[in-house]
Symmetry: C2
Subunit: 385 residues, 2 copies
């Protein structure tokens, strides 16, 4: 580790006037990211904004981001499509599968409402069925792998599952889940909103089929940049749905001839490109503090500290009965105020948390640069409610 946490925190202006525990909603943008965004806008106006030089430069910058993301996920850059957000990544996978009427999509009961709604609309249009399996109940007891196994049927073609559950912070055994599903000829689409930037990832080893993520949560990049990993041997069988010039090759008369050879086939058209460099800088800044294993170790140490402290507070009930394996610490409170009111009250005191609705709870997110003293102040504020 090259830097102390105190020094590292200076990179994040969002930390300096509050106690911030909402990294799972959105990470605090580094100074260098905003500077890179402004530099890019300035360059674009100086050399374009639309010109041969700028178009070449944007392509190079785009490929640099793709390469950096691929390195973080231990995959080849040509398997990464850049998207506006994690939800678009999930949509690309969900709409791109060659569905047959009667196919079944299996989701866990902890997936995000946007993904559920997408699955429901696909099922409606194409005559599929969808089913939820009870993963939530395995937080402290039971085996998520067994729950999924029980829920698979001969008609199941896809499992939609979060790597880290956004409500409880549970980390699912993704490698085993993928192995199980593949044994049953079921593909796996992962909502990685809470896992990318949280812990070391090797998607090649995991053999996962589709892995959708965002840069603006645990990576602390700007909102509006995310991506989708598509396993290389699936590139040709996953059909592009929303389509534009970025995804196609054209002939000498500008007519579309075929999809791009790599995952850019799933990209559409003009994006907020300066944000790409903003995300690159954010990814780079984290590595100044330590590698992803070291950062994850620190996250676990700190979230365990919060979990232990919360256990000591009368009326506070952590959803998890053992120390967290992620930076998400969810709890309920015996209090006259609703969770929503508690969060609003704390926000007025400069302490930023959020509520979840299913199960109804409050969630605190811990990043590697969170301070022990911040955790203590949070717990003190909860005590004083």
């Amino acid at each position: 580790m090259n830097r102390t946490t105190e020094k590292q925190r200076l990179e994040f202006p969002g930390l300096d006037n509050k106690l911030y525990f909402n990294f799972g909603g959105q990470g605090t943008l580094p100074k260098a990211s905003l500077e890179a965004i402004v530099d890019d806008y300035t360059y674009l106006q100086h050399r374009g904004p639309f010109s041969h030089q700028v178009n070449t430069w944007l392509q190079e910058k785009t490929e640099l981001l793709r390469k950096d993301i691929a390195a973080e996920l231990a995959v080849s850059p040509d398997t990464i499509a850049l998207t506006e957000n994690v939800t678009v990544g999930c949509n690309i996978a969900l709409w791109g599968i060659d569905w047959q009427a009667g196919d079944e999509i299996l989701l866990t009961d902890c997936e995000h409402q946007g993904i559920i709604a997408t699955v429901q609309e696909i099922a409606r249009r194409l005559g599929l069925t969808s089913k939820f399996c009870p993963i939530l109940a395995t937080l402290n007891d039971g085996n998520p792998l067994e729950v999924i196994k029980q829920a698979l049927s001969p008609k199941t073609r896809l499992l939609v599952v979060s790597h880290v559950l956004w409500n409880t912070g549970q980390v699912l055994p993704l490698g085993e889940i993928v192995t199980l599903c593949h044994q049953h000829h079921v593909q796996v689409l992962v909502d990685a909103a809470q896992s990318v930037g949280m812990f070391p990832l090797n998607l090649t080893d995991l053999s996962v089929d589709y892995y959708a993520f965002t840069g603006h949560k645990w990576w602390c990049g700007p909102a509006g940049v995310g991506g989708l990993y598509v396993r290389q041997d699936l590139l040709d069988s996953l059909h592009p749905t929303f389509i534009g010039w970025r995804g196609i090759d054209t002939n000498e008369r500008g007519q579309p001839t075929r999809w791009k050879a790599d995952a850019t086939r799933f990209e559409v058209a003009t994006s907020a490109y300066p944000q790409y460099e903003g995300l690159r800088r954010a990814i780079a800044i984290h590595s100044l503090w330590g590698n992803s294993q070291q950062r994850y170790g620190k996250i676990c140490q700190l979230s365990a500290y919060l979990w232990e402290e919360l256990q000591q507070v009368k009326g506070v009930h952590c959803l998890k009965s053992s120390p967290p394996e992620s930076g998400l610490v969810s709890f309920t409170l015996d209090h006259a105020l609703s969770p929503h009111q508690v969060v609003q009250t704390l926000e007025k005191q400069g302490i930023f948390l959020r509520t979840l609705l299913n199960p109804l709870c409050i969630r605190a997110c811990i990043h590697y640069f969170t301070l022990g003293t911040e955790i203590e102040q949070l717990v003190a504020a909860i005590r004083q409610l």
Copy 2:
């Protein structure tokens, strides 16, 4: 008009070191837009980035942009979905129609390759047919309305048409086209990449069904913000395809219950929100110079001047045989250098144009703040090639 053109131009740093004629590719971003983007990032870090206060503020900002766009298009804000770009807007309409096998999609032969590829993929998946009608040839002779009329068949359900053709700059008679199509029970999806920000629009009067646009061309907003207008009575029949939390209502357990009542049902998830304010500022800045009718008048006056001057240059052939009705002036050149080489040569001299492939030509774009002297310098540079 409150400002001179010279003063207005100071708002656009992209103009000060070059002769810029690529507004149809991307407009020059106003200083105030970049300042607004930076201000928004700063606010987000100060008050969030994820908090109750920020989420409320982002919703308000989003609705302000929607309102400003709606005012420019003379429609109700609830008919506007914000998208990443014009192509996504077209995709929303194209994938959202309740297609039946055998339906036919009619396109003009001047549509963008991304839209053609989308139509081809939809046709492949759903068993539709698609057909091109020869509008290109009507630039100087013939009647686009008649061409479309001839191409309609009992199976045609949708016409995909650009309001202003991106290759030749021809302005199509959209009102008459919509009336014709509606008489034949055919809906009309408009690619408005080159019309929004170019001239006054009243989509309510036009009765158009779907109108997809971007903020980063003639409006000079930041790349990454566009939208789709959906006629109010079609909101319920156009199905959302790419779906996320922005488009759905949820119950007290966070489960999706229904689409949002308005066009936000077509929006997906987290965007580069600071760009929204950047686009708002850009729209506001144009109105400081004059209203949209005045700006369009100036565009036509200046592009006629370029067109006339180009007519005087030996070996230059304007595609249009009469003065342009838009800011797009396309021409070919009798020269040993290819159009691509000409554009690159001129770019090295600080003169920014682009090539089009179908027909193979060079395109110069004139905005209301383009100077007569810039046009003269462009023509002189072409003479000296």
